[in-house]
Symmetry: none
Subunit: 685 residues, 2 copies
């Protein structure tokens, strides 16, 4: 009886990954699956070449080397934050585009960090060994944090590589990822944003699409272009319909192994709060942008990001509000638990589901306070983030490394300092607007009569309080930040900067929330570890873990789909952009990009422009190279379609597609429209 | 002891109005205050002249006579509804502007009523006498309505004037206002809307401004221009910095006499919920509008309305979140209650504050459910409104008139049918978007597992459920609505229209909320009457009552202010419009108005254009004349700045300013840009 139970369970477990499903580890690539389905064999050399050609953008995206001289291809929307930072009021590079006709003209980014994954080491055993069975949750966490910090530090010291321990399979495994780090990164080429983001928000997450969402950076070391041993050869023909393709990139986060209770919690709490915040920011920033052209330039990136986020959250929430999906999740979970109950040593794994439910339930009442104070939703200004980092740095750095908050451990120090001392411009008027609004939210959520809220508001209304905080702070001056950072606790205590004072005021209560959050996270972690261990005993690592912004391999086929009875074709052409623009009366955001207008008689309108494939991707994959069986670049991921957006909580075969820029279309545009000869020569085209 | 108490109370009651505060009755002008502060004496003749020069627009604005021949000045945005009605498909007067070069060319408005206040009579005693102490609340209401109707009818019969009894001081006094009524009103001049509303929503409620927000009408009687004995002489120099000015107009509504508990309730509940809803609609509609031109055309009106509302709510909320303001409110309320407690007959008034608090408190737990179900926030589509009206009409009309829900009583039937059978187009795609989103909110707010929510969702995710409801309903067909309306209960019961089924499903639970809401409203009303009566016994009419869209006098000084350390100057110039347009790249809504472009070389760019003053105004004051000590027209109110928007709940001296068009700028524009020679001659300029 028990045995039959188990067999049934196995048949319906998530183990059975579907066609083209998966964001696979490079240490555990889907060799058998791909071979069975497509007759292609992934070899270690093929894989290593792809791995070392792939680039991770610290700002949250992906890219790849495409020349032996450190030339990197990514999306315009991955680079746009940098492109904005490199702009001035006189020279808006987002609007105008940029092309460095010579090496000397390449523009150095103020604070961009790129990572290339050099090696992976399984450190699960060492992490596990540090955590003893008889430890309390707190002790366990400390012990784990300590050993992870130690592993990372040892690795950094030994190799000089950025070293991150990545938790995989919800704690089923821990891997040490070592990255070559590049911090001298320069902008080489970017099209005008109108071409890069043609159709903008209205077309976002849709297909057909017509976006030249690409740009080039170059990595430097010691002032010289990096010699990139591994780079992807550019395939001039590009992806073809029906072709098998691979995607190497850094999917940020999926929740496919979340329990039913966790999905309910996200549905009923996390996401609606997030949506509320998104709507607020979106409406405010859009209104602020419409007041002034300069505002528009400053806010466009943020607005695009927010709208992106809104669509993703809306799609995800709609998925979680699908009673059928939730019922299926619950059913497969019940079967897994039945399987666990079949073996005495897996009882704990079964009980872990209850522990997760209970922890979420008990965390609920604090959720709002945690979001406001520790999540910083109440203080929506970059100044507060800076102030908090300074205040906490003074408290944390004197502590022993492993006892520090995670973001202050030594392994992260370089990135933290890069961020903290960034020259990124901060606009006081926009910051005042955002802060005033978030203070209003604080009052609404925690209550204007709340003791802490009263202290924060200091007897003022939100607008007045925000205005005095932003007007009074000197933290836009990097040298002020440096001296507070270097001066440590004494400097912080002596500071009368109002933003520092605010961060100090909030820090105690925020840390209380942080402690609770970490405690809850620890309970969830331990419960998931129990589930993961039992699941591993059934599945092994035959499947892939949830996304963790670490390098993954996805694969799929270039193909269209049917929607509401209509065919959605596999690709668009350059000419399609002209047609869509004309159909929309050539008005924003469908107005013809200026360089395209100028070149319209010369362009090969039949060249493929954007295309779709079934590879399983998510946010963070933006800028990922799409390669063919020969490992050559045939496309550049830049989006999902709307059905693809729902897959974060569970893969479902259907109309979900990854959307890419086609390598042939990019070449044609670089040549005919942008005349980027030097880049083309470097790509040997 | 008691006496001392009372004296103290009197000294610190809201009686003590602040500098430049107040929307004063013409029967009780702030003579002493103005004299003390500015050394100017308001005389009865001066006042009568101003009163009889002031004009009330039935559509909700103000204006004034500016010539002896019935020429009336008001805002373009006050007249724009009429200007639109006078337009034809071939001749869009809002876009093009209008100028009647001869008297004969003046265009008669189809349905505009103007009122000029001729006399005021205190009828408090007569109203009070009709309401006996031993009457029940219901009887008292009926008796009061009856006596007011009688007073108005007698006055109309005797004088021929429009006669309105106005409830002042929340029921502390009743005054009979007699108006000369003009219904033959003709359009004389209006600039193009681009000049009138330059900067549109982005600039709304801001300063500096550059709006020629003016137009002229003329009142006729028996086909001839009215001989207006009282009119304001146009001062060609216009307002000067530092000058004392007066505003005569019709402020619509303020809540300065709301209790502290009511303000807290608005702050903590009403307004933040409202804001959340506004942000959501604003973000969604703006994103939808950006998809294509036709969407933009359809959504523009709604978006402008929402943004206007957001600015007002944000400003109001910021005001309520000012701890200083709230503390002062509480203190003055405590003193008032101390005074009440000093007299046995005022005990009830003191207790009334508690009754208000208790009623609000007891309503809190139901608030969300009431908003969702009875407020309809969960079903944000016009289709649901139609369905609910049909479902309720079938239930309500068979009842005796006085027992029906208010909106189904006979007095409102014509308006209800006008609305229900309107041919106004409904766009299914926009409705689906709105409904899907609001269903998502319903799930978030009441919980996806809530029984009623599950029934509403019918096993579907929000997008799918919204799509099927909107695709399935036939309620866009007016004949379908008519047959359901005329068919009554039987037709509704037989209908399988999904929107009717939804409205039926929701109606029971929604009516439960409605009952609770009405009960709460009645308690508040009665409590306020008790407070008002006692308050009036102490203060009499030494202070001004909340705004009631009746004629009021405000005063103040022409002056700029400081904001975030920067000077906001007292005035702008005509040249400023050109500069702002250029700085904004001459793109909408900052594109140069065509007539301005044509005249740009001739215009005196130094002429003052818009200016600000400290007079205490609110919505309804639009179009009010600004006069100097000589009673001459020096400006035309058209807006408040953002800090001015906060003052609806309580005046506070600060950066609040009324924004006006300057009389010199208007002259220069009429002359150089619009060549309105005939009007200028009539103004003797």
């Amino acid at each position: 009886m028990r045995k039959r139970h188990l067999v049934t369970a196995l048949l319906t477990l998530p183990t059975l990954v579907l066609a083209d499903e998966g964001m696979w580890l490079f240490t555990k690539p889907p060799v058998e699956k791909v071979k069975a389905a497509y007759g292609f064999e992934i070899t270690p050399a093929w894989l290593e070449h792809l791995q070392k050609s792939a680039v991770r953008f610290g700002t949250g995206g992906s890219g790849s080397f495409v020349s032996p001289n450190g030339l990197i291809l990514t999306n315009h929307h991955v680079g746009s934050g940098m492109i904005e930072k490199l702009s001035t009021q006189e020279r808006d590079l987002r609007a105008l585009g940029f092309y460095a006709a010579t090496l000397e003209e390449e523009l150095r980014c103020p604070d961009l960090e790129l990572n290339v994954l050099m090696s992976i080491e399984d450190v699960t055993a060492r992490v596990r060994a540090a955590v003893k069975d008889d430890m309390s949750a707190d002790e366990a966490k400390l012990a784990r944090t300590a050993v992870i910090g130690q592993i990372e530090k040892e690795s950094l010291d030994a190799t000089g590589f950025r070293s991150d321990v990545v938790k995989l399979y919800q704690g089923g495994a821990y891997h040490l990822y070592r990255y070559q780090r590049y911090t001298d990164v320069r902008l080489v080429f970017a099209p005008d944003e109108q071409a890069a983001a043609f159709g903008r928000d209205p077309d976002n997450f849709e297909f057909p699409r017509f976006c030249l969402d690409m740009c080039f950076f170059r990595a430097y070391e010691d002032g010289q272009p990096v010699k990139s041993e591994h780079f992807l050869k550019w395939n001039a023909q590009g992806a073809e319909e029906g072709e098998l393709v691979f995607v190497a990139g850094h999917p940020g986060r999926t929740n496919r192994l979340a329990t039913h209770a966790e999905l309910e919690d996200m549905r009923d709490h996390g996401m609606s709060g997030k949506l509320e915040q998104i709507y607020r920011s979106e409406a405010l920033l859009e209104a602020w942008a419409s007041r002034d052209r300069e505002n528009r330039r400053r806010a466009t990136g943020a607005i695009t990001g927010i709208r992106n986020g809104r669509k993703a959250v809306l799609a995800g929430l709609d998925g979680l509000l699908d009673p059928e999906f939730m019922a299926a999740k619950l059913e497969s979970e019940q079967k897994l638990r039945d399987a666990f109950r079949a073996k005495p040593e897996w009882q704990g794994a079964d009980e872990a589901f209850q522990e997760i439910s209970a922890a979420l339930k008990s965390g609920e009442p604090r959720e709002l306070r945690a979001r406001m104070l520790e999540g910083g939703e109440a203080f929506a200004t970059g100044f507060f983030g800076i102030a908090r980092t300074l205040v906490r740095a003074a408290d944390e750095y004197p502590k022993e490394n492993s006892r520090r908050l995670r973001e202050f451990q030594e392994a992260g120090r370089i990135s933290l300092e890069l961020d903290l001392f960034s020259n990124e411009p901060i606009y006081r008027d926009m910051e005042t607007l955002k802060l005033a609004n978030s203070l209003m939210v604080l009052c609404a959520k925690l209550g204007a009569n709340n003791d802490l809220v009263e202290k924060i508001m200091a007897g003022k209304a939100p607008q007045e309080r925000a205005a005095e905080l932003i007007a009074g702070t000197k933290l836009d001056d990097v040298s002020v930040r440096k001296s507070l950072y270097e001066g440590g606790k004494a400097a912080i205590d002596a500071s009368s900067d109002p933003m520092i004072l605010l961060a100090k005021l909030v820090d105690g209560p925020a840390r209380v929330e942080r402690d609770h959050l970490e405690e809850e996270a620890e309970i969830l972690l331990q419960a998931h570890e129990k589930i993961a261990t039992a699941r591993f005993a059934i599945e092994g690592d035959s499947t892939y873990p949830d996304a963790t912004f670490s390098l993954r391999l996805a694969y799929g086929v270039v193909k269209g789909y049917q929607e509401s009875g209509a065919n959605v074709p596999w690709a668009t052409t350059l000419g399609g952009l002209f047609e869509r623009s004309e159909l929309q009366g050539n008005v924003e955001p469908f107005d013809l990009p200026q360089p395209w207008k100028a070149a319209q008689d010369k362009i090969n309108r039949k060249a493929e422009f954007n295309f779709i494939c079934t590879a399983d991707i998510t946010g963070g994959n933006s800028g990922s190279p799409v390669v063919n069986k020969a490992g050559e670049l045939v496309g550049l991921i830049f989006d999902s379609n709307a059905p693809g957006l729902k897959l974060g909580y569970g893969y479902k075969e259907g109309n979900g597609r990854a959307v890419s820029v086609h390598s042939a279309g990019m070449l044609e545009a670089l040549d005919t429209i942008y005349g980027a000869k030097r880049v083309l020569e470097e790509l040997e085209k």
